[in-house]
């Protein structure tokens, strides 16, 4: 009387414990392959002799239980479940001679291989971590003598670079006054315009320097430029027959007058 009830309760406790273990473990598994490897341990045989059919059944049962317990299983667990269900049916049915692709046995063998390989890697990892480890079992030199890096810097430049540098400076030199001195340059066109404008008002012979623009007579640079331009302009106008030029002697003042 009490016995079956008790037994039932016992079973239910065991079930519940198992279910709880599943809940806890599903997080602990590193993917479906890890789960399969864990399930395969229950077969207690060499992984090479494992029954893939039995394993598939165990896995599917696990997934069903998880579903019953409303455990959210990651998609890859479900993909594996679908594949194992397919594999299981293929393994149970007589082979279809017309079917393409790998046989059920090949697929099962591959799964067994994957499990064996994963297991082997885990064992290898454990062996690796158990080796003498630097900083735990073996130790490096505590004080490493710095290798003095005598960094010898050699600078290089090619002749081309040297020449280009010089060319750069020289061209800059030649352009700078030109650009900069624009304000101090009185052009011949300007001089021509000035003489043409003034010559009519000048009476007789008048000194060429008198035609220099206002304010250009003091600064030597400006005076030179204005003088040169005015002189050139006077030559031009003489050539065109607009004025006459005279100079009494070398280095004597130059005078111009309007040609009549």
């Amino acid at each position: 009387m009490a016995e079956p009830e008790n037994l039932f309760q016992m079973q239910s406790v065991a079930d519940r414990l198992q279910a709880e273990a599943l809940i806890v473990d599903v997080d602990g598994f590193e993917g479906p392959l890890d789960l399969l490897l864990n399930l395969s341990r229950t077969q207690k045989v060499d992984l090479r002799k494992i029954s893939v059919l039995q394993l598939a059944e165990q896995y599917l049962k696990f997934v069903d239980q998880a579903k019953a317990l409303r455990i959210e299983l990651a998609a890859d667990y479900l993909v594996m479940a679908a594949w194992l269900a397919f594999l299981k049916s293929r393994l149970l049915l007589p082979p279809d001679p017309t079917a393409d692709g790998p046989s059920a046995e090949e697929m099962a063998a591959h799964l067994a291989f994957q499990l064996e390989r994963l297991q082997a890697m885990r064992e290898a990892a454990a062996q690796l971590m158990a080796r003498d480890r630097l900083g735990r079992d073996t130790f490096a030199r505590g004080v490493s003598e710095e290798v003095a890096r005598l960094r010898k810097v050699t600078y290089t430049a090619s002749l081309m670079e040297l020449m280009q540098a010089y060319a750069r400076i020289r061209t800059r030199d030649e352009f700078r006054p030109y650009a900069f001195d624009r304000t101090n340059v009185f052009t011949m066109e300007e001089a021509l315009e000035r003489i043409r404008g003034l010559i009519g008002f000048a009476g007789d012979w008048s000194d060429l320097t008198g035609f220099l623009p206002d304010g250009w007579g003091t600064d030597p640079k400006r005076r030179r430029s204005a003088t040169a331009a005015t002189f050139a302009a006077s030559l031009e106008m003489a050539k065109q027959g607009q004025i006459e030029i005279r100079q009494s002697d070398t280095f004597q003042p130059i005078s111009i007058r309007k040609k009549t």
Binding site: L33, P102, M121, E123, A124, R131, D132, G135, R136, V147
Partner: protein, 218 residues
């Protein structure tokens, strides 16, 4: 022309005779002692006088330190002096608190070591689960793995290989000395064997059927 230059070389060699082997051994000893990091043969050659043979000197030195408190170890193509493991108990003071590696990281590291050069997809294939970015990053940061050659398959995926730092950490002369490597290979467990009938193209192009085939090319 080539004859002349050879002659000159010969003359140079005789002019600058290499120091005796005993001296060379002292030099190698000094350099290894001075460095916390493994020193490459090439660097030894560069630092030692012309004509020295550090590789030979190292063989002598290694023998000399057999059974001593420190050992001369080969680490990849480099050499280092490390304390003997049985004296670890004296070194409590020197122990560096190590970052705990996750199980995923340890497994990933082992897979890279045994299957290198290996792509991320292959690691995932073996573990049957996605490898998180963080795991790879952590191993890269510890300088236990590095990027290897790109695989000549569609998408040219990068591969991972272990570093000299890895070898140094685990007292391995080379990745060939990984524990159980020979057995694993004999058992075919380092083969990249895809699911039959799925990716035969990949297989052909992937080249290295077995792990570690490319490992010691350069």
């Amino acid at each position: 022309m080539s004859n002349t230059s050879q002659d000159t070389e010969e003359k140079d060699k005789s002019l600058f005779a290499a120091p005796p082997m005993g001296e060379q051994e002292r030099m190698v000893e000094a350099v290894l002692f001075a460095s916390a990091e493994p020193v490459r043969i090439k660097e030894l050659e560069e630092r030692m006088p012309h004509g020295c043979d550090p590789a030979e000197a190292l063989v002598h030195l290694r023998k000399r330190y057999e059974g001593r408190g420190v050992r001369v170890l080969k680490v990849g193509d480099a050499w280092a002096i490390r304390t003997a493991p049985d004296l670890a108990f004296l070194m409590q003071k020197e122990t560096v608190e190590e970052r705990k590696l996750s199980r995923a990281a340890i497994e990933t590291l082992a897979i890279i070591a045994y299957h290198q050069p290996v792509t991320r997809a292959e690691i995932e294939e073996i573990r049957g689960v996605a490898v998180s970015r963080g795991t790879i990053d952590q191993l890269l940061e510890m300088e236990w793995i590095r990027f290897g050659r790109r695989r000549m398959t569609p998408g040219r995926p990068v591969t991972f290989v272990v570093t000299q730092g890895f070898l140094d950490h685990f007292s391995l002369e080379s990745a060939r000395d990984l524990p159980g490597l020979k057995d694993l290979r004999a058992a075919g467990l380092l083969d990249s064997r895809p699911l039959p009938g799925t990716s035969s193209e990949d297989e052909d192009e992937d080249g290295p059927q077995t792990g570690q085939s490319e490992l010691f090319e350069d």
